[in-house]
């Protein structure tokens, strides 16, 4: 193997790819070749680096120099300065929003500094398309240990000892699930990896599969050994084409190396993995619906009188784990359950990956020990609120979760604390909302999502969620009545008690939590017919601030209904009878002269 003096780790996650990281790669290779550096500097495409807001990003090793927001035109200068003359280019480095001083080293950037990586241990350090690089970072050592030095019972015991809980949402102890499946004798058993990441606002599973697919394969194989399964399925969303491609490649590489298939590592243990592509249905993330989908049945959840660990996929004992859960497994086996249990809080061990998105400066993927407070995540790692606005709420747990207000910012984040405040861990989406977000509108958004994605099998979810949606819509449209809030609470509690599957029973959470913490906002909508955040169309008007408007005509040009009039360099006005409240004028105005009330 040719040795290089520097490696350029260029992110090829979905976020960076859509911002042009492959164009940057081509420019980089061309420039290196022109300066005859191609044998000294290697360009490595890695999985998602996590700092998606600044994409495309790259890290130059050794030295950990972090560059962001790259364009092809930056490359010639970068190559000459950094790789030829050895002078890092400050212009392309990260500048924190506060003091604007460039930070050269990745680990000094606030976003990365506070993170602790276990599930994402290889992020940005390996090329996900090369199995050798995974092995060089200690990959498949956990599997080797599990196959040659441990019995299935001791694997289960180690995982139980680690305190690992399912990272997909409900937080069921993984060790207990495995023990239950191991106990039921059967000619065949299955391991399913749930990569149907349906929660809007969560993308850690995509990132793990894109950046480190072998970690999932290794985790599944260890699970197979522990419970006595010889076949596994990865159920992956159809919306994730890059992840699917890398996973398929990784599986075929692992087969070539004999790390999947018959007699793995000469231990006599057989295991292989199939990939099943989803077709776009939120409910398929629910375990029984997911199994039905693989079986070719209509993917509706079924009542869980019998655990899947006894009769699951094709009526055989089945273990279903989330991607992130499985990615943790090899490290637990390699370093021991006690090491893992030493991180985190009493009820929730280890770390958790969060997708930090919304109105926050540093959006991206964040892995922190359980028990880190919301404030640390949003303000220290996330770099605070975008455009200096006021923090209003953070939504966790996707459509099953709830909104947490500013008064609870010092809450340590783990499974139990989040449930106590009426939200949940879910898959780890964390959507930060600022003062311009209307909480009633957020509740309506989730209800709309859920009524659309409800499979329709049980009445509580099908009719109940729709009824709640109609009421919340009525409130948003300015037709709310006295008693609507109480009716929503009553209906919500009933759905919680009666729905069939986990998705249905948690469906009222977004409404109940916004009512609990932002009741005032609902009341303002109902009694004053006003939307304080300026979001609900029926309750707002747009107008132009005469003091700020300089008559640039930009708003008038962009207005789709020609509702704005005014001469050049004169103050413009909006004809309210024509205005459809699309908000385009407010988006295009450079002087923030368009007001919303």
């Amino acid at each position: 193997m040719k040795s290089h003096r520097a490696h350029v780790m260029l992110c090829a996650g979905t976020g960076c790819v859509s911002n042009g990281s492959f164009e940057v790669k081509a420019a980089l290779e061309k420039e290196l070749a022109e300066r005859d550096l191609q044998d000294e500097i290697a360009v490595v495409m890695t999985g998602c680096n996590g700092f998606c807001a600044q994409g495309p990003v790259m890290v130059v090793q050794p030295g950990e120099v972090f560059y962001q927001l790259l364009g092809t035109k930056d490359i010639p200068h970068l190559v000459e300065e950094h790789f030829l003359k050895g002078r890092p280019v400050e212009r392309l480095m990260y500048r924190p929003p506060v003091d604007k001083i460039p930070v050269p080293r990745m680990s000094d950037i606030g976003f990365f500094k506070k993170q602790r990586l276990i599930a994402l241990r290889n992020r940005g350090l390996i090329d996900p398309e090369k199995i050798d690089e995974y092995i060089a970072r200690g990959g498949y050592q956990g599997l080797s240990k599990a196959l040659t030095e441990m019995t299935p019972e001791s694997i289960v015991e180690e995982v139980t000892k680690s305190g690992l809980r399912g990272r997909g949402g409900a937080g069921f102890p993984t060790g207990r699930k495995w023990a239950s499946a191991a106990k039921h004798a059967s000619d065949e058993k299955y391991i399913i990896c749930n990569a149907d990441e349906g929660d809007p606002g969560a993308f850690m599973d995509r990132s793990i599969i894109e950046g480190d697919p072998h970690a999932v394969i290794e985790g599944m194989t260890i699970a197979g050994r522990a419970v006595g399964a010889h076949a596994g399925w990865v159920y992956i969303r159809t919306e994730y084409p890059i992840a699917m491609e890398r996973l398929n490649l990784a599986i075929s590489q692992a087969r070539d190396y004999g790390l999947l298939g018959a007699d793995i590592l000469g231990s006599g243990f057989d295991f292989d993995i199939h990939v099943f592509r989803g077709a776009g249905a939120f409910v398929c993330g629910e375990s029984s619906a997911l199994r039905a989908s693989i079986q070719g049945d209509p993917p509706e959840p079924s009542a869980k009188h019998i655990h899947a660990t006894e009769r699951g996929l094709f009526q055989k004992p089945t273990v279903l784990n989330n991607v992130e859960t499985l990615a943790n497994v090899p490290e637990i086996i390699l370093r021991g359950g006690e090491w893992f249990a030493g991180i985190g809080t009493e009820g929730s061990k280890g770390t958790k990956v969060f997708a930090l998105v919304g109105n926050v400066n540093n959006t991206g993927l964040v892995e922190v020990p359980m028990g880190t407070t919301l404030r640390e995540i949003i303000f220290d790692i996330g770099g605070g609120m975008e455009k200096g606005k006021e923090f209003k709420a953070v939504q966790t747990g996707g459509p099953s979760g709830g909104c947490i207000p500013a008064s609870l910012l010092d809450l340590p984040v783990d499974f139990d604390r989040l449930t106590e405040v009426g939200s949940m861990m879910g898959s780890g989406g964390m959507i930060v909302m600022d003062e311009d977000t209307c909480m009633v509108d957020v509740a309506r958004y989730f209800l709309d999502f859920l009524r659309d994605e409800s499979c329709g099998k049980c009445t509580a979810c099908r009719e109940g969620v729709d009824a709640m949606y109609q009421i919340v819509s009525r409130i948003c449209n300015g037709h709310g009545c006295e008693g609507d809030i109480e009716l929503l609470e009553d209906l919500g509690e009933t759905i919680k008690d009666t729905a069939l599957c986990g998705l249905g029973t948690s469906a009222p959470n977004p409404v109940l939590s916004t009512i609990a913490y932002f009741r005032q906002e609902y009341e303002t909508h109902i009694s004053e017919r006003r939307c304080p955040a300026g979001v609900c169309k029926a309750l707002i008007t747009y107008s132009i601030d005469a003091e700020k408007c300089n008559g640039c005509t930009l708003c008038a040009k962009n207005c789709p209904e020609n509702a704005i009039s005014g001469d050049k360099k004169e103050v413009h006005t909006i004809d309210q009878s024509k205005c459809i409240k699309c908000g385009i004028c407010r988006d295009v105005c450079r002087r923030e002269a368009v007001l919303v009330q």
Partner: protein, 127 residues
């Protein structure tokens, strides 16, 4: 392809160690070639190639090679700095390929400073 055994995993890891230690930034020795305009015109590119060649030949896994800008002593280019972990950096001046080879073998691998090419011990601290 033959199926892997337990020992093969270790071998692959060994083979890849060089690339990986580079990424993790953990090296026993660090060689910096000074590549300002003066350095490049005095032949610093050839020095980098020579260093890379030595590196490959020796199979050393834990040596990091970087470049940096002008060292400020343009008359003695090409120059390079060798820094063994835990020791003060040493600057070598007026280099050519043969000298690089000796510095590499004796200082980087052997740990003994080649006094005849060395300018001085110690340096302004960079990191």
């Amino acid at each position: 392809m033959p199926k892997l055994r337990k020992e093969d995993l270790e071998q692959i890891a060994q083979r890849m160690k060089k690339a990986m230690s580079l990424r993790e930034g953990a090296g026993r020795a660090k060689i910096t070639v000074h590549m300002g305009t003066c350095g490049i015109s005095a032949g610093a590119r050839k020095i980098v190639s020579a260093v890379m060649h030595c590196l490959e030949e020796s199979g050393a896994q834990d040596v990091i090679v970087t470049t940096s800008g002008c060292a400020g002593l343009c008359s003695r280019e090409p120059m390079m700095t060798v820094e063994l972990s835990g020791q003060a950096p040493v600057k070598y001046v007026d280099l050519d390929e043969a000298k690089v080879k000796r510095v590499f073998d004796e200082h980087v691998i052997g740990g003994v400073i080649v006094a005849e090419f060395a300018l001085a011990r110690g340096s302004e601290q960079t990191l």
